[in-house]
């Protein structure tokens, strides 16, 4: 015991001296690109869709580019891919009908990939779409990619055994969410689903029962990756995909490592976005975000050309950001993942209360609770700034740290008692505590009720849920208002459970607006969504917009060409290269 006491006292001394050695923190604002506006469009000029992609400044061919990530990618079957890591990797091995030309700074352009253009709305009613397949695209065995293989890829996405990927095309083609019973892929392997035809080898034609103006966006998802039917190995395709992109999988060790090497049949002149700089890409799974970040910061050996896939963990942010030597090796970018304080409109029916809530929130303080500007940047709109056509506005200007007086004024002396449902995770508990402080300062009485972390999403998706407020987030599959506003605020979609409209907001006039805008040509929609965004906030304040997630990445000194995808908020690999 005497020994124990000595060790203890010694330990305390070490800690105290470590502490006294540290210097004073004088602040200094980190630089984050917050005012970024997405200026996305759908490319109308076919030249935008033409290859090759412009060379990346300073990029060279050769070397091995390594990606470190804790969680393995479970498979690389394009039709089953929906995870961010998968969505960012599949473009290396598979091409899709359309794809995003993205500079990582909000300048987005949807271009044809397998298709020569991002599609043609045949009757200008968004019901019939045609894509003309590009000439010269080849599979890894040299066979040309035709409309047939693209059609087959879409058809196999109906297979219930291959579930897990996006379901837009499937649902739209058969016009029902139960697409796999509406059309049985396994019984019709040699035919195509209803509505999908290949008039000739170079034409793919979609016919929908209803207007589907977002089709050009939807076909950028890997559902449209081509596959010759004779190479379909079912679920086994996941660990031995058949490439149509610049790389092919040469080694697949489940849960440990994936190695991709150049596909010599890929022709740069046919590809508007991809490059083929490194000799190989290696995914190495296992290291925790902390370990991976520390490895690339240390910058030794193979880690010099490595990227730590996960965002810099909160525990390291201040250190990494404070190290000027690392600045050139970090990437800081807002993502399209938007976070709101969702108001349960079925309970909080008084507009003035919802408006007061909007005035009360101290977004600056909230960002501090989240870990600073390298984690989150404030937002005052329904749609994240990365949305095409987004316009910044603040319907309830309250300054960076909230306007409790204005909120009080709106409440006019009443003291609403609201229940804030919060997941019991450590971070969300702190966020809830912060929000409660803000709101009580403004005259609300807030009760925080905990919801088990893993159950929270299901619970708030139930229409009768008992809470008035909860935190919600939304990351759209493509940066168009159509994939955000109607999904989150169309009151006609409210069901008993599984609601994406967890604000339970329902307004006939707004619903009518959704219907109207959805039938407009995609190029005209973006401005109108931005206007509707502002109108919903001004007239109804159904939520309190809080912040968008910020991506903060670190990589080795020789890793180049990495940018954060403006669509998915994850590192894009199409420009990746190894510096000499």
């Amino acid at each position: 015991m005497r020994q124990r006491a000595a060790v203890a006292v010694g330990g305390a001394f070490v800690l105290v001296s470590a502490l006294s050695a540290c210097s004073a923190n004088t602040g200094g604002e980190p630089q984050v690109d917050t005012g970024r506006q997405a200026t996305g469009v759908i490319a109308t000029d076919p030249r935008d869709s033409a290859g090759p992609a412009p060379e990346v400044a300073g990029a060279r061919r050769g070397g091995t580019f390594t990606i470190l990530r804790e969680t393995p990618i479970s498979h690389l079957d394009p039709q089953r891919t929906y995870s961010f890591a998968g969505l960012m990797t599949v473009p290396l091995i598979a091409r899709t009908l359309t794809t995003w030309k993205d500079d990582g700074e909000g300048n987005l352009r949807l271009v044809g990939d397998l298709a020569e253009t991002p599609g043609r709305d045949v009757d200008d009613d968004c019901k019939v779409w045609e894509f003309r397949v590009r000439d010269g695209v080849r599979f890894e065995d040299g066979r040309p990619v035709t409309a047939r293989e693209i059609g087959y890829g879409i058809a196999r996405s109906f297979d219930p055994d291959l579930a897990g990927g996006p379901t837009y095309l499937q649902e739209w083609l058969v016009d029902t969410p139960q697409y796999d019973t509406a059309w049985d892929f396994q019984a019709n392997r040699t035919s195509l689903p209803p509505g999908l035809t290949t008039p000739d080898d170079r034409t793919l034609r979609f016919e929908f029962a209803r207007p589907r103006c977002d089709l050009p966006f939807a076909v950028s998802l890997p559902t449209t990756a081509p596959l010759p039917s004779d190479r379909d190995t079912g679920v086994d395709l996941g660990n031995a995909p058949f490439s149509s992109g610049p790389y092919k999988v040469t080694r697949y060790r489940a849960g440990v490592e994936i190695v991709m090497e150049r596909n010599e049949h890929w022709d740069a002149t046919t590809d508007p976005v991809r490059h083929q700089y490194p000799d190989r890409f290696v995914w190495s799974f296992g290291p925790t975000p902390d370990a991976a970040a520390n490895r690339v910061i240390a910058d030794n050996g193979a880690d010099q050309s490595a990227l730590s896939w996960d965002y810099v963990p909160a525990s390291l942010i201040a250190r990494v950001a404070g190290d000027a030597g690392l600045r050139a090796r970090t990437i800081l970018s807002p993502t399209p993942s938007a976070n709101h304080l969702v108001i349960n409109n079925a309970r909080v029916t008084d507009l003035r209360v919802r408006q007061a809530l909007n005035h009360a929130i101290d977004r600056e303080g909230l960002v501090k609770v989240l870990g600073g500007r390298h984690v989150a940047v404030p937002m005052t709109t329904l749609m994240p700034p990365a949305t095409i056509g987004h316009r910044t506005y603040d319907a309830y200007p309250a300054g960076p740290d909230g306007d409790p007086d204005k909120a009080r004024e709106l409440l006019g002396g009443q003291r609403p008692e609201l229940v804030l449902g919060a997941a019991d995770s450590s971070l969300e508990q702190q966020v809830a505590t912060q929000l409660k402080g803000n709101l009580e300062r403004a005259g609300f009485t807030i009760t925080i009720r905990n919801i088990p972390d893993d159950a929270k999403l299901d619970e708030i998706k139930k229409s009768g849920n008992p809470w008035d407020l909860y935190l919600g987030s939304w990351a759209a599959d493509w940066p168009s208002g159509a994939s955000i506003l109607p999904v989150l605020y169309d009151g006609r979609t409210i069901r008993a459970q599984g609601n994406s409209n967890h604000a339970y907001f329902n307004d006939p006039a707004i619903n009518a607006e959704f219907d109207r805008i959805l039938t407009l040509p995609p190029t005209e929609q973006s401005r109108q969504w931005a206007e509707l965004d502002e109108r919903i906030m001004e007239e109804h304040a159904p939520v309190v917009p809080l912040y968008v997630d910020v991506a903060y990445l670190v990589h080795g000194a020789k890793a180049g060409g990495i940018f954060v995808s403006s669509v998915f908020g994850s590192p894009a690999l199409v420009d990746a290269h190894v510096k000499p």
């Binding site: 525990s315 942010i317 008992p466």
Partner: protein, 335 residues
């Protein structure tokens, strides 16, 4: 055991075989084993130091509202304007200043000192209350099982095994939300005391088995001792047996197991708070602070240091005092 010379002034048993031992202090009153333990404890510097520290901790915990009053800052007050853009405290050593003795928490910017004072209150209350409950349940069941034996012993042993087989984490995760729902529905405010109470109950429900087993073993050993037989042969009833003959001999093991469970519950509360069980973010608690602080080891070591040192000192003091107590009660084990 301690830095002090081995129990010097403590009288040893009278060794001579005569009719009387040498005359000693007033009225020839003897030293009861309890008093001897007390004397040994008083002669032990570690015991004194750790005991004094414990008293100090207790006083601080009891006086928390008074301290808040003089300090002028409450445990929920936020000072986010004194955080930098990363949510880290400005200034030296995690924002230590004349105003904030131990600096500020990152993120929410609450005062660490006053939160520690209240956290101490929570932790000590939970640990002490749970240890008392644990001891009561353990002693009652252990004594009954050990003394009465037979089917009662079998039943208690069965319940003990059942309790040991219960998955602590699962129950700790499932029970509080269920109870909260049962008592407060889905929207009522849940008072902090409820969470504290549930935590205490969970600790007690899972903690008593050790004490019960220890006491049961002790009682079985005591039951075979002839002084128990002597009392029985004189016609002593169960009340006399339990309270006059057995319990006085169980004081030492009860104290020992109590002193072992207290630090266990302090750290247990810390561990559970971390996984979101028990106390909410609003209740100042050591556990939450410690575990939330861990991710700041590199960026704000002061946030790790202050709560760490305090909980460390508390657990150390309890353990050292417990050890000293054990040694004092059973000098043979000293070493």
């Amino acid at each position: 055991m301690s830095l002090s010379p081995a129990a010097g002034p403590v009288p040893a048993a009278i060794g001579s075989g005569g009719t009387a031992g040498p005359p000693r202090d007033r009225r020839g009153a003897g030293h009861s084993p309890g008093r001897l333990a007390w004397l040994r404890l008083r002669a032990d510097r570690t015991a004194l130091a750790s005991g004094a520290a414990l008293v100090l901790f207790l006083l601080v915990a009891l006086a928390a509202p008074l301290i808040e009053l003089t300090y002028g800052i409450g445990p929920r007050d936020q000072f986010q304007d004194r955080l930098d853009g990363f949510g880290l405290p400005l200034g030296r050593a995690g924002g230590v200043s004349g105003e904030h003795f131990f600096g500020l928490e990152p993120r929410l910017g609450r005062d660490i000192f006053i939160r520690l004072v209240y956290g101490l209150r929570t932790s000590l209350f939970v640990a002490l209350a749970a240890a008392v409950l644990t001891s009561v349940i353990g002693v009652v069941l252990g004594t009954l099982a050990g003394y009465l034996g037979g089917w009662l012993d079998a039943v208690v042993t069965w319940i003990t095994d059942l309790t040991l087989a219960l998955p602590f984490l699962v129950v700790a995760l499932v029970l509080p939300p269920m109870l909260t729902l049962r008592f407060y529905g889905q929207r009522d405010t849940v008072p902090a005391a409820f969470g504290v109470g549930v935590l205490i109950v969970i600790f007690a429900v899972f903690g008593w088995t050790g004490t019960a087993r220890l006491i049961r073993g002790q009682v079985i050993a005591l039951r075979e001792r002839e002084f128990v037989a002597a009392a029985r042969a004189s016609g002593a009833g169960p009340w006399h047996m339990l309270f006059r003959e057995l319990l006085p001999n169980l004081r030492a093991p009860i104290l020992v197991s109590f002193s072992l469970t207290v630090p266990q519950f302090v750290t247990g509360e810390a561990a559970l708070s971390f996984i979101g069980v028990g106390l909410t973010e609003e209740t100042p608690s050591f556990g939450r602070m410690i575990y939330q602080s861990l991710e700041y080891l590199q960026t704000d070591p002061a946030f790790v240091l202050f709560p760490g040192v305090v909980i460390f000192a508390l657990v150390l003091a309890v353990n050292l005092f417990g050890d000293a107590l054990r040694d004092a009660l059973d000098p043979k084990s000293a070493g």
